[in-house]
Symmetry: D2
Subunit: 422 residues, 4 copies
């Protein structure tokens, strides 16, 4: 019934660190997880078995194809590749056979588009476990999340005779861009869950501390806007086209001016804009990647509605065709008091972590999983597990403090013991 050693957790974390994969392309990562979890004795479902395909967001065919090619090159078995059927992520399930609560935990598995630092003072570079997938990096700590998940899995399997109820360990793809949680939630895997736990390493909370109930999660929706017009020679026939670049620029100037909301914070960002084909051609195509945020779901919906009205109005003004696509979604967070108390007790009283209050400020799609569980009557929590980081999240020299990993496992297992101990 003992926990894995810190060394084991470190080794897992470093193995994942070395092979970072962007959302929806985590085929090597998923294959490793599935193999390890099956080896431990779990029944493991591939993404195909639990993701709602209609609810998948922001999955780029190009990323999927590169991921599959990488998996083949890496030597993942054809059977496993076939079983994954183009979808990443997996769920490990355990039924103790004794009546009791159903507990789910979620660990996210994707990386970010950052070229990892090669500086000798950057530990992964120094110790030789830096990214081997150029331009991609586990710079947000998801490698650590997976290590914690495996540690919990190992402890659970070893302790199963002392536990009651059922367990689901969800290894979720595509958290970056808040894309992967929606198909998990809508796939139904959480619908019988009584307790749900998820956590993030770092996030401004130093090693030895825990932010049990981080506040100010912003609801968010990630959107792509596309405008299609018609080209024309800009010198001879300037009136002949339909200028998608002009429409897109006016769209941006309107989007940035969406009114603030009296009931709470809002955000709007147009992160990228690419438009036009050549200097002397009326531009026929424009693409915008944007995101809106709101302090709650009503405010976020307000932002979406305003943004879409603007897109439609611009298309009318400029004679363009307007398309939009939802690329990601997350909601706000309302941790259940019962679990706030439980995690506090376990983390602070038993493990000795120091409590810390704090604001999250950003967005996280685990909130969709929390909401799904709560909507169906379960209790759920998302907390921040302290880990002193070497640089900001998503920076090239980001690194977690590996000593936090064991603490992470202990918080999860401590809570399980309380809720599911026989």
């Amino acid at each position: 019934m003992s926990h894995p050693t810190s060394e084991q957790l470190q080794q897992w974390r470093r193995e994942f660190h070395q092979m970072p994969e962007i959302g929806w392309s985590e085929f090597v990562t998923t294959a490793k997880l599935m193999s390890m979890l099956r080896e431990m004795g779990y029944q493991v479902l591939p993404g195909k078995a639990f993701l709602s395909q209609d609810a998948i967001l922001g999955r780029r065919q190009q990323d999927v194809e590169q991921g599959l090619a990488r998996a083949q090159a890496y030597g993942i078995s054809p059977q496993l590749i076939a079983e994954m059927a183009g979808l990443t992520g997996c769920v490990a399930q355990l039924d103790t056979g004794v009546a009791g609560p159903t507990i789910a935990m979620r660990f996210d598995i994707d990386c970010v588009v950052v070229a990892e630092s090669q500086h000798p003072q950057h530990i992964p570079a120094q110790l030789g476990f830096a990214s081997e997938n150029p331009g991609y990096m586990h710079a947000c700590g998801h490698d650590g999340h997976m290590a914690i998940g495996l540690g919990v899995a190992q402890w659970l399997m070893a302790s199963r005779s002392t536990l009651k109820g059922r367990f689901k360990l969800i290894f979720q793809p595509a958290e970056e861009g808040v894309r992967g949680a929606k198909p998990v939630a809508e796939g139904g895997i959480l619908d019988d869950v009584d307790y749900f736990f998820s956590a993030h390493l770092g996030m401004g909370c130093p090693s030895g501390e825990i932010m049990v109930n981080p506040l100010e999660f912003l609801c968010t929706t990630k959107l792509d806007f596309r405008f299609y017009g018609a080209p024309a020679h800009a010198g001879i026939n300037p009136q002949g086209g339909a200028n998608a670049l002009a429409g897109a620029c006016h769209c941006v100037t309107q989007l940035l001016g969406i009114p603030r909301h009296g009931d709470g914070m809002t955000r709007i960002n147009v992160g990228t804009l690419h438009a036009g084909e050549g200097r002397n051609v009326i531009p026929a195509k424009a693409e915008l990647q944007l995101e809106v945020r709101g302090a709650n779901q009503a405010i976020n919906q307000y932002m979406i509605a305003q943004a879409l009205n603007i897109g439609i109005g611009i298309a009318q003004s400029y004679g363009l065709r307007f398309e939009h696509e939802v690329m990601g979604e997350a909601v706000d967070l309302h941790n259940d008091t019962e679990l706030i108390d439980l995690v506090s007790r376990v983390a602070c009283n038993e493990i000795g972590l120091k409590p810390r209050e704090g604001l999250f400020g950003g967005s996280e799609d685990a909130t969709l999983l929390v909401k799904r569980v709560q909507d169906l009557g379960g209790k759920a929590i998302y907390f921040v597990l302290g880990s002193t980081i070497a640089a900001g999240h998503h920076e090239a020299s980001f690194d977690i403090d590996e000593s936090s990993l064991l603490q992470g496992v202990q918080v999860f297992t401590g809570c399980i013991r309380v809720l599911s101990g026989r």
Copy 2:
């Protein structure tokens, strides 16, 4: 069969100069014209009898009411006021009783919103015939046009036994803002006309010269745009309103960017914008006065269509109600060769004016009358009669050279003699 003396023309011109009236409010002016023309022996129709009421553009109720009050105060007889029935302008008709062509001439009668110079070197101030309607001034020469029209009328009546055919002298209201010609054209008064003549004094052409075929008349349409939204407290409820001022501003930024046209000149101006109710209120109303121009009617229509699309799109983007109103219209000019030759011959060979080539550059609603006549098979011309001016048109110290008035009468009557002499 002699022409009026220069002194008579000067006296008429100065009488009109003293009582300038803005478009659709020319009740004193019209009453004077009707009385004088009836005294000469003409059958005179009031505006009501020949203007198409559906086609009236840019007639502001406030101007009409002020004009009526001015007419009463001036001592215009109640009978005449009743006969005008709220509409200005008149047509004097003469039938010689002998078969022959029908010839129409147009003289415009309204003034502009300019406060006349009181400078002692400004002749009307010096000689005591400056505007007695403060803030308004005959600063475009229409007072001279009316004097020429009366001179032609006097000559015609005196010469009628030597002439054949029929004559219509149209004294048109509301030329400024290109508002009054449309209801004249659509009222049908020109539909049996064989020859149509109109002219403008000044316009860059000095005394003693004539621009028989001025080029580059731009088609134009004058539009009012209005946006209606909803107010809200800008501090407490910024998302609650629908911001008409924001919509109007984005509308302007889009309007000014309507693409140039490869086939010819375009223009767009938003001349005025008034929006909002108070500093801390989301603005609920915005009004724009704008105009578009184009080298020909197709290009002008392109500009209108683009502008309206923008208005509609903005309303969609900002949740506003959008209204537009056409406030004025003019088209391009294509003088008939037969009349270009005739006017040249009369003006240059007989009267001794020096021919001049030139560009008009602006817009004039006599073009709608020219077009109506031409569309129905008649011939038409609009020319510029030289008159050295003291300052630019629409400036406070504008003044014509009164010696041009007799030359103007002579050009008209010379042409009539050629076309209608027995």
Copy 3:
């Protein structure tokens, strides 16, 4: 030592209600206050004696002139008009002659631009004390504030032998538009004050309740932006002018897009925009009335800095001259705990008002006075005194519940007794 009767307070309030005067034009109001307070025995300073003239904001010459004319017509004595010297507001001072704290109170005296309801169910209309200054109305309760101020003054003078220390009753002009507090603060009248009290009637708090510590006061700055360009004929010479209307519209589209702030709420509103001279003239002038707000002073400063950068940039882009003028200012509110406790005790325990929590949401320039006192070591509070209102603040049928007036006096005097009782 008794309070004024409710009837007396009602009569005062109705007298002021009948003669509402807009900020910086309150000459009748000020003259009445000065006379009454002098009659009670106070030494009374006119505005000139305590307002910092350099710090006066948003004082329109036209309002001042109309106010002076009104005062003359009303029969205010030439001596009093001369004493006011063009500035409104007054301060009544009382020195008990016994060492003790200096206490200041502020009552605001101006009205808003609202045409009062004539509906028979609107009490002021029904009872014949509705506004006699058409288009203006005490629709924010400042008439009641003055009645309370006079009631406190009467009590103070009557009770002076039982009190120690000194008292200043500040009757402040031009609170609307947050214009009048700055010259009060910078004039120094508060610099020796130990305790400062101010209050507002209504504001969503019903009769019988009190909001001792309202939250979410937004810092705000009111700004006028003006752009000056050059006119040109829009048809003939479109490139010749410098388009102030175009610059203003682009300015608005940029202002509305000033980025949100991660540390707290912001607001931006362009409430009015007036630009242009005529439809066919490149517009040479544009004026914007705008306001920014921020959850704290740093955020408000950020908004101001962004707005000014935009104005400067626009002037550069469009070849315009840019002017800005600060028209009003308020800051956020941090009531002192000592006074929160004191007002609560007096209002709830002694007078029996029910405490209420609440958000203010808007802005108030009493905050500048609070800040001045606190910056120099004094204690200060601003609270909301419940009064059930007939319609929203600034609406045509707004009316206070006059029964609150006596409660208001009692809260002020109750606190004074505690702090200054011998």
Copy 4:
């Protein structure tokens, strides 16, 4: 003294067609030209010897490197590659040794970025001489221009004993984007030239016809605008960055609204815009490719000045760094009457081509060469040589009528015979 055969011209044209090279990368093309011209007996200067390096526009290092690699792979000799020293284009010179005029001719050599049609009805595809440089194509006829140039060169060398004076055949790089003429003009190679000839195939003029004096060449300047800001997390720190994308979009909305010009046509196009790094990051970089045009140089300068003012103003408004770079330039065209008459006589009377009037509508950098010659007292002409084309210029199935090539040679040589015959 005979001309090359049509077959020879066709063979040269097809050889160049097969190896299209984009501006400033025409190393294979230049090497072939230099070798052929030297073989004919000419003294040939490489680009380095006659191009002003300070005046080079729009030369992308990446294109140069790819071009050099292509030349190596193609087997161009290292000596020739070294001689070109990174610059393309060449000039062949011939001195007859007999006193006489100096005549220069210009033939442009670069291709466009178009993927050539593979359709079997597209003659180059059918006959196997389609582009072997994927994504690039001679879709503007410059392959034909080079064939004509070689034909003229061959005839000149063969006829030299019958001619007097000197000859310069300029094979100019980078005409597309109007980039290559400026360094030719400023390099001085034309400064002793008495007569200058250049021509374009096609351009709406069918085989058998010639447009000796095409009108409406627009002056143009090609500009790149770049804005540099600062990134920040769009959720947590939206106020922290400097938004280059927002600035760029407002820049576009302002650029498209640069006022029309009363003196003649203007154009403005922002052809491409690329901005931003990621959806949730305040964008730190934006790049715009734009072009302005004007009916004459003053109007074009007006457009440039307006555009730069806007860029500077935007940088001010958004706290960005603004850079601009001139990427290309051409001016308007004023053919000399003496050469209009000469070309007409030769082409129509001698060769039998049918004269055609027409508008060019676009821009051409040969105009800079024409202007250089004229400014120094020489005579110059640019004409359009009819060639029925299979599809519009810059389209994938563009093809010239090869029978025009010989006519082209004959027009040039016919003029030379007149001007330089002994």
